[in-house]
Symmetry: C2
Subunit: 490 residues, 2 copies
């Protein structure tokens, strides 16, 4: 027999005072103690979500720089969402739920029609992530805007909401995604979870709650509710379910807030409970929330989003940036190359299991495929991820050139070693991708991406330009109806 004070669950770092209220099963120290110990109430010591709720439900002056960053991210997400609408996974979702898309229902769905908010969030969120062209966000180790923006749009559709409120909710939702993510990462990500399906959805529930005007406690409850639907494993990478994770997370965010508003409240101590999020989702080695700050600085300013120039897994982007730069500097052609070795982190490596991709989805998660393209052409675009593009013999001939090597050192740069047939060996290393705060895209690059996505969606350049102008003014928009029409009807 084992005493009741030992052996339960995993050991999770230091046991704080707050932990004691979260771990009733681990703290009894005599066989009779548990039923007699008074459990401190949650009002005595704040759980992380309660602390976050208190910040998130309060009015803040986020400032012009943060608001501009949010508008950029919203625009970047909407162009990805529109470009994804014709992808087979989105067509599949529309077919699966055809009876739920119609002429009534508050929320517009990409591809046409209206649906319930949760259903619209599921389809639009999947569409935003379908081409893997949407942004990344370091603290969450996730695609966050593809979850947050569709969730906010679906929520805004059923209530009077200003553009300013939408931007506020984006900043709050992103801060929440950072807050949740920092407490569990990078252990959570390395374990094999897809944080887009887990962390991003829990955080987005805060953004949705803010847009609904929920109070601090209800906002915290919405995030707690969202933990009960947090899911997504990396074994789905390369299948159609990978982008669906973003949609499921967006739906989770919307519905978790709807449940909280209706009085259904999960455990606000769930993040660091012994049977809660950090303990169960492979984040036992994560830092937790005891020292977590909120909004100081805002995550959108301190971390920033990492939007993409190439529609493939972000783990390939460091190497792509380097190969493009080496080619520009040394002027070699694909035929001159004997081998390309890419050194990258463990999680990045795990994201890229496809050596010889069989379809467009696998190609987005194939380092050899992406490097082959970078040896042949000056840009990777949406047109490079179609069945016909993937079958090109000149690309497939280059696949065996590339190998990957894992480096587990914390904070190590990505490295490329490119050997030419001449015997020359070229080296490069990078700790950042283009598009991050350190090397942000130019306005021209952003505009070019927007126009290429809208062209992919079949929208004329004139209409696309008009939509871009409308979206740039979201923060001043009073009328979301016009905004929805501009986004969804074209």
């Amino acid at each position: 027999m084992q005493d009741c004070c030992t052996g339960y669950g995993r050991t999770i770092g230091a046991v704080s005072l707050r932990r004691r209220i979260n771990a009733p099963f681990r703290t009894g120290c005599s066989r009779r103690s548990w039923p007699l110990r008074r459990k401190p109430t949650l009002t005595e010591i704040e759980a992380p979500l309660e602390r976050f709720g208190a910040w998130a439900a309060t009015t803040h002056d986020f400032g012009a720089e943060a608001r501009d960053g949010a508008v950029d991210a919203i625009i970047d997400t909407i162009d990805c969402m529109l470009a994804g609408a014709n992808d087979p996974v989105v067509s599949g979702l529309r077919a699966a739920f055809a009876d739920e898309i119609g002429a009534s229902g508050p929320a517009p769905v990409v591809g046409g029609g209206l649906a319930a908010p949760g259903r619209a969030a599921l389809i639009n969120g999947t569409s935003a992530h379908a081409l893997d062209f949407d942004d990344n966000f370091r603290p969450a180790r996730a695609h966050v805007s593809a979850v947050l923006v569709p969730a906010l749009l679906a929520t805004a559709a059923s209530r009077p909401v200003s553009g300013r409120a939408l931007v506020d909710a984006y900043i709050v939702g992103l801060e929440a995604q950072a807050f949740v993510g920092r407490g569990v990462n990078n252990a959570h990500n390395l374990a094999g979870w897809h944080p887009t399906g887990t962390v991003a959805g829990i955080g987005a529930a805060a953004g949705v709650s803010r847009l609904m005007g929920l109070d601090a406690g209800t906002l915290a409850a919405a995030m707690a509710n969202a933990v009960s639907a947090a899911a997504g494993v990396k074994a789905q990478f390369g299948t159609a379910m990978k982008p669906v994770h973003a949609g499921l997370a967006a739906r989770n965010a919307v519905e978790a807030a709807q449940l909280a508003a209706a009085g259904i409240h999960g455990n606000p101590a769930i993040l660091d409970h012994a049977l809660g999020f950090r303990a169960l989702y492979g984040g036992g080695d994560g830092p937790g929330w005891d020292a977590a700050t909120i909004g100081a600085p805002l995550a959108i300013l301190g971390d920033g989003l990492v939007p993409k120039l190439y529609p493939c897994c972000g783990s390939t982007h460091y190497a792509l940036d380097m190969v493009f730069a080496l080619r520009q500097q040394h002027g070699f052609a694909a035929d001159d190359v004997a081998s390309v070795q890419v050194e990258l982190g463990r999680a990045n490596h795990a994201n890229l299991p496809y050596g010889a991709p069989q379809d467009a989805m696998q190609a987005r998660f194939s380092m050899p495929y992406c490097i082959a393209l970078a040896l042949l052409q000056d840009h990777l675009g949406l047109e490079d991820f179609t069945p016909a593009a993937i079958a090109r013999p000149e690309v497939r001939a280059l696949l065996p050139l590339t190998t990957m090597v894992i480096n587990t050192a914390e904070g190590m740069p990505h490295r490329v070693t490119l050997t030419l047939r001449s015997g020359a060996v070229l080296h490069a290393e990078r700790s950042e991708v283009r598009g991050s705060l350190i090397e942000p895209f130019s306005e021209a690059e952003k505009q070019r991406k927007f126009m290429s996505c809208l062209a992919w969606a079949g929208v004329t350049p004139t209409t696309a330009s008009a939509l871009h102008a409308t979206l740039r003014n979201i923060d001043a928009a009073g009328d979301m109806t016009a905004l929805f029409a501009a986004i969804f009807d074209h």
Copy 2:
């Protein structure tokens, strides 16, 4: 730097040949090997879900005993679902999604109205588990019928389905819940997952797929899809989100099959993939599926369901059976009792964190509360889990009498040591609860439970008796419309 063949993910028992196709990141043994190694295709070696799909999509003669067991379980679930319809959590769900419940849509919802299949499954599944009166199932360590039956009913509502097909689908879905559960449990359960939200939903996707007539590969894909929404942590026990886990799992089952039928297919190797279900959901110590049998014997015959006589956590039932038996044998009254010590397993202990419950939901997960009732009265009924019942001073006075002790020995019996004020010490132990295959309920006990649940739902005895007779004949019913009317309209 670390070689690419080491250090990825956790170590998971023996590395089988099949494992090699599932773990491309762990098997490269030289730094150049990965892109050059041919990855075996899935058609060469069957993944567990493909093996299961091949069985589940095939016609079998399940036999009368299995069909009777399935009908019993369906009836027991429907009475719990109807009794739960007025619970605050179900009212909350109906309020949250009020705009989605109306006069159209194929699937009936408890409390009235029609909705999309996924939405109906969410609300009805939650209702079936709201009172914690629904069955348990050992291989899954979960409430399985509360997930499976609502998912099947929601699916049957939109297509012509015979009662016989419904019973077949129940048997297949339960077998799938057993198959998934056996591969990860008891490690999964002990880690703190709520298998009702995880294992039960993945398995139920097989039952739904069978009812939809999907082929073997599509059925396996549906189960793989369901892994992407498998969630639920025990930190939600005692909150309204606990029963919602059953609803979310039922919804997950329905929608995972809808997605698969529409061509969206997750990774069929996901169960034992290095970044898949067993590896990430705390089941690394589970046995896996290499030696798993299917249908030999059928889980419904070999394991059987464990329905409940008392509407509270199944982890209290062993002790309740023993206290009732000790009282019957020794004739003491509550006033005669000095202390009650209950010895139970670690997972059972974890399910019961409430020493002094504050509401009905906590009371269902409180050993002291349930034991106090058993000292005072001869049965625990739905009427014992209301705010007024919980506040009774004569019950609360008895709460300090009960303590719990964990025993971690595998297969140990539950034990009660009851000390009387006279100094007499009474012992009992039990390895089974009443209601299991070893001590099944009598027909009179089943009928009494059905009638008490229907009375709780506000249904007259006459109507309830008629519904019971209709349900007993499900297996012969050709017309599900009449069956739905009998269940949902009264």
